[in-house]
Amino acid sequence: MTTITLAAPDDFDGFRVAVRKLITAWVPPEAVTWRIEGEPGDLIGGGPPAGTGAEIRVPKAFPDLARRVICNSDRERFALLHSALLALQQRPKLLEDSADPLVRRLDMMAKAVGRDVHKMRAFVRFREAPDEAGERFAAWFEPEHHIVRYNSGFFTRRFTTMIFSILTPELCMHWDGDEVTYSPGAVKADAPGDDPLEATWKTYYASIFNPARLKIDAMTSEMPKKYWKNLPEATLIPDLIAGAAKRTRMMIAAGTIEGATGSMGQLRDEAARCKRCGLFGPATQTVFGEGPEDAALMFVGEQPGDQEDLAGRPFIGPAGQVFDAALAEAGIDRRTAYVTNAVKHFKFEPRGKRRIHSKPDAGEITACRWWLDAERASVKPKVIVALGATAARGITGKAVTISKERGRAILQPDGSELWITVHPSYLLRIEDPAVAAEERRKFVDDLRAAAARV
């Protein structure tokens, strides 16, 4: 058995010299015991072999990996690195095989060190401890691995002009503005117990926290509880969590009384400036819905026609007259219903002096759903009647076949009922009077059935 004694737990240079000798002397990893100076341990077996001074292969990536792995507190780290270096003599590209069990283990050990190093940079909290020489800072930190020396450069590069110490149970570092020195481990009581600025820091911590979005797991995965005892702000966490739900409920309750949706007048004003699709260009104006803002029944048509476009009101042209007559026959008072269109600008093709109606496409319907959705959210009707396929698409977001869906209630995600029927202009286009009369009767029946659900 060979025993190698290193000067410190993170003695990379000592390890490097020893492992070269072990490899050139063909000493296998299982025949080596590694110990740290000052540690009790068996001293049986000989010291390091002389080695031959022969060249060994050390791929470029190995020293970087080893430097980090050495800092890991895992006692097997030296033996594992020795095994890896031995294997590298046969397989120089082994380190690139991240799926190899040994490489994987070393990678994970190096990663754990990297994380500890990062957390130390994050969670060290200096406290001011002025002495006769002036401003001086000290911190108490408990790292998981042997990282104080490895990490000291970060702190001296950052706080070059400050005089400070970082105390840990295993090793303390001190910076006097010129040079780093180390001393043996300390206890927490050796570090300053308070800093007046911590109250201000806690004020900041409590104020920057948004109680409406509690995500405790996200916090603890990045700031595990084991670090809390040395973080002044962490003492606030339990109370902040306990108070959060209540604060949020109060904010929501306070707001709900005012009413949670935009007023109809405001929506109408915004819609008047709508440029969500290209139809705003040629059209005269946006034709918004009209009717009581709390109507239980809502009718949705296709789009404004020539007369609606000029007047700025829905369903007042020829189709509007058919619609009004059908409503009267079904016993529905139009003044009690909210009447609007799926698309709020008139789409047409100019032909001579006339503007010929042109069917809105899916993109235009989708663009305009913004407004229809807002109207629905504001009015909250119990029953919506879609007049024609465009209206049905505007409401459901999908293509709908009227003949398949008409004559029954379709429950909507917001709890309302949707009834689908034809558009009144369809009735105007039927040439055969008998068919027209029959279709008109079916239309009135649909309206009556829907209104009965209110």
Partner: protein
């Protein structure tokens, strides 16, 4: 107004700043305080010095110079019609707080924003003065992020860029209509104009530094922006499209998505519900797919149902389930682009797969050692010892991939 001490002001002005999601301190040029007369360093990767129970990292001292504002944006707690308590820091107070926090290792630096008071130039000048004092008088070399005021004079933005690592202008809402409705005094065109001005200045500076190494650095960590999610009706498809445009057109380093959360003294036009945190999370995942996984906007949009990303599964899995014909993917043969499409394989794992398979064929256990676990991967990959049932033949896929814990997150949030 009664006289407030610095700590009372801090409580008000940090509270007012907490709705800004960004706290990043990474991606700037490498600096240290060696050879200087002050403190501070930046080494590429930012550091989160603490985490609040809202899960957000605390990296910077994130405050407003003042929460008084001449604007009346509905979603903002600082709008002029809000009854919130007002305060204003002096330049000196912000400088002293920043340095005192930094010396105790609480922060990486300062993120300073402000309500608009007086004119845009007046406000921007005050922000610049804080940064100038920190950099020139105190030789502070930590991180500085300044919010830019869209209408401020170009000379002020120019000077801000000399001191700040990052500049940002918030797009606020994903659609123009949302902005018109909720921030009637803000102008989308001017916001985008200011963003493109910043992009040009950043690009010019990069170019100048290629020719003259001594040219001063201008905002080395680039620009970022934030949009509020859930305050208007914009769906996820619209949001990712807007985000993609921001990355392409303005060279944004980051687009932040901030789930709209109820604010005290809220305006009546807002949805007062718990913030859609899970939706925010899915948008960040979608953002990642576009930036690091080679997904086009249209492909992210394919992962949506009716314009919204599913909440029960991540967007990459959602995309995969809609393109079952492209799976399983052979980890020993597939090109990088296809490996990146496999749900559960991250960029690092993919790079490792590519390295390993140059040396040997990989089995499922190999893959398990490179990832967080193979259970999720099984249906999507072929390995030397594994071939799954064709995805197209499985009807239950989506249910088996849903993590039951996810619904709780939303409830709890």
């Amino acid at each position: 107004m009664a006289h407030l001490d610095t700590r009372e002001k801090l409580a008000i002005l940090a509270d007012a700043a907490k709705y800004d999601a960004s706290c990043a301190s990474s991606g700037t040029s490498k600096r240290s305080s060696v050879g200087g007369k002050g403190i501070g360093s930046t080494e590429g990767m930012g550091i989160c010095h603490s985490y609040a129970p809202d899960g957000r990292c605390i990296s910077l001292l994130k405050i407003l110079l003042t929460n008084s504002c001449i604007f009346d944006c509905h979603y903002c707690i600082n709008r002029r019609s809000s009854n919130v308590r007002r305060a204003r820091f002096t330049v000196d107070e912000v400088v002293r707080l920043t340095l005192a926090f930094y010396k105790r290792n609480y922060i990486e630096g300062l993120f300073l924003s402000s309500g608009i008071i007086g004119t845009s130039d007046y406000t921007m000048e005050a922000l610049v003065r804080v940064a100038r004092t920190l950099r020139l008088e105190h030789d502070f070399r930590g991180y500085i992020h300044l919010k830019s005021i869209p209408d401020a004079a170009p000379e002020l933005l120019e000077e801000a860029g000399l001191y700040a690592d990052r500049l940002s202008i918030n797009i606020e809402l994903p659609t123009e209509a949302g902005l018109t409705r909720l921030a009637p005094e803000k102008d989308g065109g001017r916001i985008r104009g200011a963003m493109s001005g910043l992009k040009l200045a950043i690009d010019d500076n990069k170019d100048a530094r290629k020719h003259y190494r001594s040219a001063p650095k201008f905002a080395p960590a680039g620009q970022s922006t934030q949009m509020i999610v859930g305050a208007d009706n914009a769906d996820d498809s619209a949001i990712v499209a807007t985000a993609s445009g921001l990355y392409d057109r303005f060279g944004m380093r980051r687009v932040y998505y901030s789930a709209f959360s109820p604010i005290p003294d809220a305006s009546a036009v807002l949805p007062l519900v718990s913030p859609p945190l899970l939706r925010e999370h899915r948008l960040y995942q979608a953002d990642w797919l576009m930036r690091f996984y080679g997904f086009r906007v249209s492909e992210v949009q394919e992962a949506t149902d009716d314009g919204h990303l599913p909440l029960d599964i991540d967007p990459k899995t959602a995309w995969a389930l809609k393109h079952r014909g492209q799976f399983p993917v052979d980890i020993n043969r597939a090109p990088r682009e296809m490996l990146l499409r496999v749900p559960g394989l991250g960029v690092k794992s993919v790079n490792a797969v590519l390295r390993v398979r140059r040396q040997r064929r990989m089995d499922l256990a190999d893959l398990g050692r490179l990832t967080r676990g193979i259970e999720k991967l099984r249906p999507f990959v072929i390995a030397s010892d594994w071939r799954p049932t064709a995805l197209a033949d499985r009807g239950d896929m989506r249910a088996t991939l849903v993590k039951p814990a996810i619904a709780q997150l939303e409830l709890f949030g």
